[in-house]
């Protein structure tokens, strides 16, 4: 099984790499775009034929084990962690996040909630976890990210329906929109610089119009996603960290209110969109 998975994956990477090396020699842009898209499409097709060839599923398995393993200074598992549907209830929970949690008196996305459970239930030190929360290129997603990937996967087929009745949930979405449109930094960028119009690209990378429900529904449910270019699973917190990096802003703090608000805004736009995590990204 693993060998087969590995072989399919190697074929896909080779296909993508081929597009990369031949890029400068290609005369027509359209041709080049089609090649890259074809390679990804080819990969997607292989995944359909054999869903187990998605390397992100290794982290799903890893996450499931980590969830159930007694860990941390208190040596307990996460099985008593309440993701919004009651302690230990995982199935479908991701579709209803971010949400307000009374015990923490704040709105939390999946990763922030996991951080909270790791701190409160298992006794991990929050500062240690958020110091280097994301993997470098080629490194596997960190433990928290693997658990998040498993939980998102357990909601596959469900549609986003994050609750919005609580005033703090409403506020999070509004704050997220303000931050999405907020320009600062030496390049004067906001999220809207790159994600506020359909059909735009930066260099050759397509930019989804995330303020539009139609496009948000297509992509937000794909995260955490396996990224072929960095060969690891990237979570939504990591995705935003990376976009702020491009914006020439400092390092976005994992689980910060701003990060949760942006995710609340994106999920609100994606309301009704299907969850298909971990998807494959370029």
């Amino acid at each position: 099984m693993l060998t087969r998975r590995g072989a399919l994956f190697a074929a896909a990477v080779a296909a993508l790499a081929w597009c990369g090396t031949s890029a400068s020699e290609r005369s027509s842009l359209r041709g080049q775009e089609t090649d890259t898209e074809r390679a990804i499409e080819h990969y997607r097709q292989m995944l359909k034929d054999d869903p187990w060839s998605n390397p992100g599923l290794l982290d799903v398995d890893r996450g499931e084990t980590l969830w159930a393993t007694p860990r941390g200074p208190k040596n307990v598992s996460l099985e008593a962690c309440d993701l919004g549907k009651g302690p230990g209830k995982v199935e479908g929970a991701f579709a209803e996040l971010p949400r307000y949690f009374a015990d923490a008196d704040q709105v939390m996305d999946l990763e922030t909630r996991l951080l909270w459970c790791m701190e409160k239930l298992q006794g991990f030190n929050r500062a240690d976890i958020i110091k280097r929360p994301h993997p470098g290129g080629g490194q596997p997603v960190k433990e928290l990210g693997a658990i998040a990937t498993w939980i998102a996967h357990q909601a596959n087929g469900a549609r986003f329906a994050a609750p919005s009745a609580h005033p703090k949930e409403k506020e999070a979405v509004a704050l997220g929109q303000a931050l999405f449109e907020r320009r600062s930094g030496p390049f004067d960028f906001a999220c809207t610089t790159c994600h506020a119009e359909p059909g735009k690209r930066i260099r050759l990378q397509g930019l989804p119009h995330l303020a539009s429900p139609e496009e948000a529904r297509k992509v937000i449910g794909e995260w955490p996603a396996y990224r072929v270019s960095s060969t690891h699973v990237m979570t939504m917190q990591h995705r935003l960290y990376d976009c702020y990096w491009q914006m020439r802003m400092p390092e976005l703090e994992f689980g910060s209110e701003a990060s949760v608000a942006l995710i609340a805004y994106l999920v609100n736009k994606a309301d009704g969109g299907e969850i298909t995590a971990p998807a494959i990204k370029r």
Partner: protein, 205 residues
């Protein structure tokens, strides 16, 4: 100056509808506090990156569709922030300009200490030459820019100002203020002006 008129017209048309229909409101102080907290580990010399100036606040607050009056006020304010070379020469070396247009290096938190000069990353958003097919579409195509406009001193000055501070002509432009924000030096800006305007540049092939 046509794009400006269009922009004013469009923003006047759409400003009210975007504002009322689609925008949720939150106390601006809440947003500022959230940003401060989200980047609290940033070193002291990065703090200025967290704070938008008046122009950015007005642009963000209207989703980059300022009213006609705001548009004019921003334009004026930003025009005053353009600095020119002492000798008045605005055309540099287009070959250096092409390298700057290709380079996206600089000012990301992984770019310190700097290993290269900052780039302009123009290709991220613009088509510039036929030989570079990897270009973005956030900005308009600049292919044949100098050829189309001619190299009159006025046209050259306009390009210099556009790169130095795009809001000076187009308030709430999505393009970075490369000169005013000290991303590019005056010398680098001149090289980019040459890339766009020099008849020998591949932009004008």
């Amino acid at each position: 100056m046509k794009p400006i008129l269009v922009a004013v017209g469009l923003s006047a048309l759409f400003a009210t509808s975007t504002l009322s229909a689609d925008r949720l409101t939150v106390d601006p102080a809440r947003a500022e506090a959230a940003i401060k907290a989200a980047f609290r580990a940033a070193p002291p010399d990065w703090q200025s990156r967290l704070i938008p100036d008046d122009t950015l606040s007005e642009c963000s607050g209207t989703d980059n569709s300022p009213s006609a009056a705001q548009f004019e006020a921003i334009r004026k304010r930003e025009a005053a922030k353009v600095a020119y070379p002492d000798d008045g020469k605005l055309l540099g070396d287009w070959k250096k300009g092409e390298r700057l247009a290709q380079s996206g290096y600089g000012m990301r938190f992984t770019d310190y200490p700097p290993r290269n000069p900052n780039g302009g990353n123009c290709y991220a958003c613009h088509q510039l030459t036929r030989h570079e097919v990897s270009y973005g579409t956030i900005g308009p195509s600049l292919l044949g820019y100098g050829k189309a406009r001619g190299t009159t001193p006025e046209a050259v000055k306009e390009v210099y100002e556009k790169i130095y501070n795009p809001h000076a002509t187009f308030a709430c432009s999505l393009m970075p203020r490369f000169g005013t924000n000290k991303v590019l030096t005056v010398e680098q800006t001149k090289d980019l002006v040459a890339l766009l305007m020099d008849p020998a540049s591949p932009v004008n092939e």
